[in-house]
């Protein structure tokens, strides 16, 4: 049901946590109750650090972790261009009914970067 990458991210929770005084966002899925928070610090036009917090299913947690891994070190412009498809590829796919996890993570990153940093 879940790929080895999703399972590993859920078990290890890389980059989970919060950052203070940085750009952040919060995205919720009212249907299943998932909540994802993203924190990104930007230095010299690049994402220096990204952290996430999540309440939700493995898809939401793994997508939260994955978006932090994919965005760290990228320029803000490149991070904004990360797509749901790229995230799904990194995760080795998500079950069809759980793909909203990837949508939430991409949305959370774009929102955080829109809010100023």
């Amino acid at each position: 049901m879940y790929s080895p990458t999703v399972r590993r991210l859920v078990a290890e929770l890389p980059n989970s946590g919060r950052l203070s005084g940085v750009a952040s966002s919060r995205v919720e899925n009212p249907i299943c109750g998932d909540v994802l928070e993203l924190y990104v610090s930007v230095a010299d036009g690049c994402i220096a650090e990204a952290r996430f917090q999540a309440t939700g299913c493995p898809a939401a947690i793994a997508a939260g972790a994955a978006i932090t891994i994919l965005s760290e070190g990228k320029s803000v412009e490149a991070a904004r261009r990360i797509t749901v498809e790229q995230l799904l590829e990194f995760l080795e796919g998500l079950p069809v009914h759980k793909r909203h996890g990837a949508d939430m993570a991409v949305r959370a990153l774009r929102q955080a970067l829109e809010g100023g940093y």
């Binding site: 879940y2 989970s16 109750g33 917090q53 309440t55 299913c57 493995p58 947690i61």
Partner: protein, 387 residues
């Protein structure tokens, strides 16, 4: 890494004695039990011995046991077989809202075929509402099906009381006892049931084999048509190794019943009590008293069951969750919903189901790993932070 298997309501390990008993029936004694030569007669003899072993575990007569491919086939046979047989007498069936999908999906299909089905709700403790059941009975009611032990919470339903009602109204009474047989004493005569489903792989037997108890005199239309196997009640060449395995598993379960009630109950209670004491915001789903000795269904606020399951799995612990159903939808457990448990607690629910192979060391390991795992998940949960 230590491996702990606490998902015995999903399936159990085959007992080595069961495996040994089955082995000769693949390579040496492989005859068809319907054949009249020596190979066949050997298979027939051991098959009838296995039928007696199954009957002995549930207080039945051997001729009242029909071998099937498992619990699902037994449930399908009982419901469809009785309903279609009695269609001239009535078209109303009563079951409960917390049944296994093998019952619920069959009932839904029967509704499409013109039967009317009443789904009796359960109270918060997991016991079905007997007053609602009683008032649902009408002249057209032909069949009543209520599970004995719930697979998710372990709640034990008062079957004898339900049987009394069924008998007084001449309604055929079936129970899905897949999670009860081999775990708690089951006596079909004392319970007063007409049909009872059981499954081999839930009691340390092989998969793909089960049985349906049919009280003498109860008639039904067979689900599978073909040869005159199982006294024309279930066509198809008998799965002899599977049947031998089921028979041996029943014999062993019978020998171990009292140990199961004391030792396994002790392990489950220690696990549950320590979790409730050590982990804040944890709670038990369903009755803690009217319950089989090997199950505890716990909710941990601020966590999500599937994520918790994966995290525990990485640490060698196998459990299950009511968080998302196996059909691949976003719907959580229909059983916990029927009990009125809030959705956040359903999403954070984990079922631990033990077996006679569970040990005190298994419980110690879970008690060491689980609190740390939950604390870690809660640390990254915005909803738990804001509670």
């Amino acid at each position: 890494m230590r491996r702990v298997y606490f998902d015995n309501n999903a399936t159990t390990a085959v007992d080595p004695q069961v495996f040994e008993a089955m082995k000769p029936f693949f390579l040496e004694d492989f005859g068809n039990a319907s054949s009249i030569h020596a190979f066949g007669q050997r298979a027939r003899a051991v098959l009838e011995e296995a039928r007696r072993q199954v009957a002995d575990l549930i207080g039945a007569q051997p001729q009242e046991i029909v071998f099937t491919s498992g619990g699902t086939e037994s449930d399908n046979t009982a419901l469809r077989g009785v309903a279609t047989h009695l269609r001239e007498r009535g078209n109303h069936i009563i079951t409960s809202a917390i049944e296994h999908p093998a019952i619920l999906r069959t009932c839904e299909q029967l509704e499409k075929e013109g039967f009317e089905v009443t789904y009796v709700p359960a109270a918060k403790n997991g016991l079905i509402k007997l007053d609602v059941l009683e008032s649902a009975v009408k002249d057209q009611t032909i069949l009543l099906s209520v599970m004995y032990v719930n697979n998710e919470t372990g709640t034990v339903q008062p079957l004898a009381r339900i049987a009394e009602l069924a008998r007084s109204r001449k309604i055929v009474f079936h129970t899905d006892a897949v999670q009860a047989v081999g775990k708690i004493p089951v006596d079909v005569k004392q319970l007063g049931v007409d049909l009872l489903s059981l499954s081999s792989h839930k009691l340390h037997g092989p998969k793909g084999i089960g049985a349906l108890y049919v009280r003498r005199g109860v008639r039904f239309n067979p689900l599978l048509l073909g040869g005159p196997h199982e006294r024309s009640r279930r066509a198809g060449t008998e799965n002899v190794p599977g049947i031998i395995g089921l028979g041996k598993a029943c014999e062993l379960a019978r020998q171990n019943l009292s140990d199961f009630d004391t030792r396994v109950r002790g392990l489950r209670d220690r696990l549950e009590n320590t979790v409730l004491e050590k982990i804040p915001d944890s709670s038990v789903n369903g009755s803690r008293t009217e319950r089989a000795p090997h199950v505890t269904n716990l909710s941990f606020r601020g966590t999500e069951g599937e994520a918790l399951l994966i995290s525990l799995d990485f640490q060698g612990i196998a459990v299950s969750t009511g968080s998302a159903c196996s059909s691949g939808s976003l719907e959580p457990s229909h059983v916990l919903r029927a009990l009125g448990i809030p959705s956040d607690l359903i999403h954070g629910s984990i079922r631990f189901s033990l077996s006679r192979m569970s040990t005190g060391e298994d419980v110690d390991y879970v008690l060491d790993v689980l609190p740390k795992t939950i604390a870690r998940m809660r640390e990254m949960s915005p909803l738990y932070r804001e509670r």
